[in-house]
């Protein structure tokens, strides 16, 4: 038992010792039962270490299927699309995106592209009213490096549910974890639209081979 568990059982014992003897007599079976149950519970909780993988799959790997759009609309514009079982798509910059080759990496992100500021829209309700419908080539944002700026596009036709507005204040998230906290946006495509775009996307394996990442 770890220190914490020992502490807790000791605390339990302490409280009962302070009671009168008579009460202690009555409480002993209760106390023992509670301890016993807690021990039994603990046995269920502790895993078999030998069964644990040295590095477990990440949340993204477990919950999403990863797709890639290499050179989307422009050479070097590699983007990913993580698709959840519920149909939602998370889009972002793949690690091979040209922007990461620039010295200093990404320095700023601007969602004010096209006709509106993508970070200002507010989607409400279960039916996702007010969500803007975008095409796969609609611009989501502009990422800037020291040397250049790149337009990031939807890749998937659908309703824009959310943009990662944290990138405005923390553009460095793209440099450190573009594949997680540095995601660009969440899009909800119609089932038919997804089937269409799926054919033009690569699986993780195919993408690795293409970019010689293996």
């Amino acid at each position: 038992m770890s220190d914490d568990m020992v502490d807790r059982t000791r605390k339990l014992e302490e409280t009962t010792v302070s009671n009168s003897l008579h009460e202690e007599e009555e409480e002993r079976p209760v106390r023992e039962k509670a301890e016993y149950e807690e021990e039994e519970l603990h046995k269920l909780l502790v895993p078999d270490v030998s069964q644990l993988p040295p590095t477990p799959p990440s949340a993204v790997e477990t919950n999403f299927v990863s797709y890639f759009a290499p050179d989307f609309m422009k050479p070097g514009n590699d983007q990913y699309v993580y698709r959840h079982a519920n149909g939602l798509c998370v889009v972002g910059l793949a690690s091979t995106h040209l922007a990461f080759k620039d010295k200093g990496g990404i320095t700023a992100v601007d969602f004010n592209v096209g006709k509106s500021d993508r970070s200002s829209m507010k989607v409400t309700g279960k039916r996702k009213r007010n969500a803007q419908h975008f095409e796969s080539n609609t611009a989501l944002c502009k990422v800037c490096t020291g040397d250049d700026s790149y337009v990031v596009r939807c890749c998937v036709k659908g309703s824009l549910l959310e943009v990662n507005d944290r990138l405005i204040k923390q553009p460095e998230l793209l440099n450190s974890s573009a594949d997680r906290e540095g995601y660009i946006a969440i899009i909800m495509p119609k089932p038919a639209d997804w089937l269409k775009v799926k054919t033009s996307l690569l699986s993780l394996e195919e993408f690795k081979i293409l970019r010689e990442l293996c």
């Binding site: 502790v46 895993p47 799959p57 997680r180 906290e181």
Partner: protein, 549 residues
């Protein structure tokens, strides 16, 4: 059949009890009937009002109706003390109660007319149904519903009587209208005692309901007719005017043969469309007040028990069992559900029709429910048997003893409808305790354990997790993590158990891995590294309900 000699007057009575009882009954009946004004009773009988209706319109006390059958001719002969008064009367359905108080009705299934001889016979067929269904009862509650037509008939009859007889002395004395007993009350009174005898239990406010529903084809047609006619009224004035004139021209004396095509309409119009009965109109139209009915009411009688509830706490030991039946595209998710395991083991014992499972919150299919268990309520519909304490204990043992050990049950017991309120009381405030198996991208330090255990009542902001974003509103919800404690796992430097207690509604998985940064702070951000969750268990649902006393 009676094997005793009866006084000549009541030779038409088919009594089945002892001579002594019969005599006593007769005496009571005579005592009640004799004081009634003969001419009024005669008029009522002549327009087809049945014996019981006559008595109840006069407010005769309830115990009279219990007694064995008595007919219109019997009534008449008591008053006249002769057998000549309409002795050849053929049975006809009462023009007020449409046969309900004559224990006559149209059988629902076979569409045949049934005429029971007495209240006892009627009670017999009801008792048969109860036995057939296999109900085990300790009481029953009798409910009767009658078509509005009966009330219309009654009110038009009463107002006619009031108009015609209000100056007469007996009327003043009896305060006729206020004392009149309703058809429903009289029927209930008539069959309750025999039912009690047959079923062996008392009538009380019970969860076991016996419901008699009388309907009449004419009832709805009348409404329809009058609706149509009312509309026609607006369009074709001449047509309806004629009809009304006809009625006004008729003589005052009741003429049962005049089929007032239009009077039906006006009766129902006044009955339905004017809240208070317009005495003037209806009494004038009482010429052929209530049509003779050629068919009685349709009767449907059912018996059923209102919902019974079993409450308790359930445990889920498997990571492949959903809480409720979960089917997508005809394929079941998981190998079983808590709902079905508990419901299918309890329903047959209660011999109910159906069950409904309700729980205080829920956990994912891959999350175990351990420790104190989660409060649940199982609603059983139309149980034929309410399980005793002993049987309930057996149910609990049975479920806990199932071979596959997927689900467990604690503190199972029968509870009243307050169980509902108990379970949902303060649901949003309740705290839940969890144990998560966490991996971090670097070795765990003692410092980390300190950092984590120092955080108390920490507020976090969770955007709607991506995994439920498709069906929930995109919102940012503030939740509280009450306390956390890290427990090292022997043999591993990067895996550990995280015990935590949080506010209801907190998404634990997202709190650990951060949900792409949409839950802030997260375990990862607090420890400054990547964190992943492999397993989650609920170890305590901190609610006071459904615990052992």
């Amino acid at each position: 059949m009676s094997n005793d000699t009866e006084p000549a007057q009541v030779s038409s009575v088919a009594a089945e009890s002892h001579a002594g009882d019969c005599d006593a009954e007769m005496q009571l009946l005579e005592g009640a009937v004799r004081p009634l004004p003969y001419h009024v009773v005669k008029e009522l009988l002549s327009v087809g009002v049945c014996a019981r209706c006559v008595l109840r319109l006069f407010g005769i006390e309830e115990h009279i109706y219990c007694h064995s059958s008595f007919s219109q001719s019997m009534l008449g002969s008591i008053l006249e003390e002769e057998t000549s008064f309409k002795s050849e009367v053929e049975f006809q359905f009462c023009s007020v109660c449409l046969g309900v108080l004559q224990f006559s009705y149209c059988d629902d299934g076979e569409e045949t007319v049934v005429k029971k001889e007495s209240a006892k016979d009627m009670a017999l067929s009801i008792a048969e149904l109860v036995k057939q269904e296999g109900h085990q009862i300790d009481g029953f509650s009798l409910e009767v519903s009658v078509p509005p037509l009966i009330l219309e008939n009654e009110s038009s009859l009463l107002s006619h009587m009031k108009k015609k007889y209000e100056s007469e002395p007996w009327f003043q004395e009896r305060l006729l209208l206020s004392k009149c007993h309703s058809v429903k009350d009289v029927l209930k009174f008539a069959i309750t005692k025999p039912l009690e005898t047959l079923l062996g239990v008392k009538a009380s406010a019970s969860s076991f309901r016996i419901r008699l529903t009388y309907t009449h084809k004419r009832a709805s047609k009348k409404v329809q007719n009058s609706v149509e006619r009312n509309q026609e009224c607006k369009r074709r004035k001449t047509g309806t005017e004629n009809a009304l004139h006809n009625v006004n021209d008729e003589s005052v004396i009741a003429d049962k043969d005049c089929s007032g095509y239009s009077t039906i309409e006006t009766n129902s119009v006044t009955g339905i469309f004017s809240n208070g009965v317009q005495d003037q109109e209806t009494s004038e139209h009482f010429e052929s007040p209530i049509e003779k009915v050629s068919e009685p009411c349709h009767l449907v009688y059912v018996c059923c028990r209102t919902h019974i509830y079993l409450c308790g706490r359930y445990l889920k030991y498997s990571r492949n069992v959903s809480q409720t039946r979960w089917i997508i595209d005809e394929e079941r998710m998981g190998e079983a559900s808590v709902e079905e395991i508990i419901g299918s083991n309890i329903l047959p014992i209660c011999q109910g029709d159906n069950y409904k499972f309700h729980a205080a919150g829920r956990e994912d299919i891959d999350v175990r429910m351990l420790g104190s268990g989660r409060p649940f309520l199982l609603e059983i519909q139309n149980a034929r048997q309410v399980p005793s304490e002993l049987i309930v204990k057996e149910m609990e043992s049975k479920i806990n003893g199932l071979e596959n050990k997927l689900v467990g049950v604690k503190n199972l017991k029968v509870v009243g409808s307050q169980g509902w309120a108990l379970m949902h009381e303060g649901e949003a405030e309740k705290q839940k305790q969890y144990c998560a198996l966490v991996w971090i991208s670097r070795p765990l330090e003692d410092e980390d354990m300190q950092t984590i255990s120092l955080l108390n009542d920490m507020k976090i902001l969770q955007r709607t997790p991506i995994r439920v974003l498709h069906r929930r509103s995109p919102l940012e919800r503030e939740k509280i993590i009450h306390w956390m404690k890290i427990e090292r796992i022997a043999g591993s430097s990067q895996y550990f158990l995280l015990h935590l207690c949080t506010q209801a509604g907190t998404y634990i998985k997202e709190f650990v891995h951060g949900d792409l940064g949409r839950t802030q702070p997260s375990v990862g951000s607090i420890l400054g590294c990547r964190a992943e969750i492999l397993q989650l268990d609920v170890t305590d649902v901190k609610m006071d309900c459904f615990v052992t006393e």
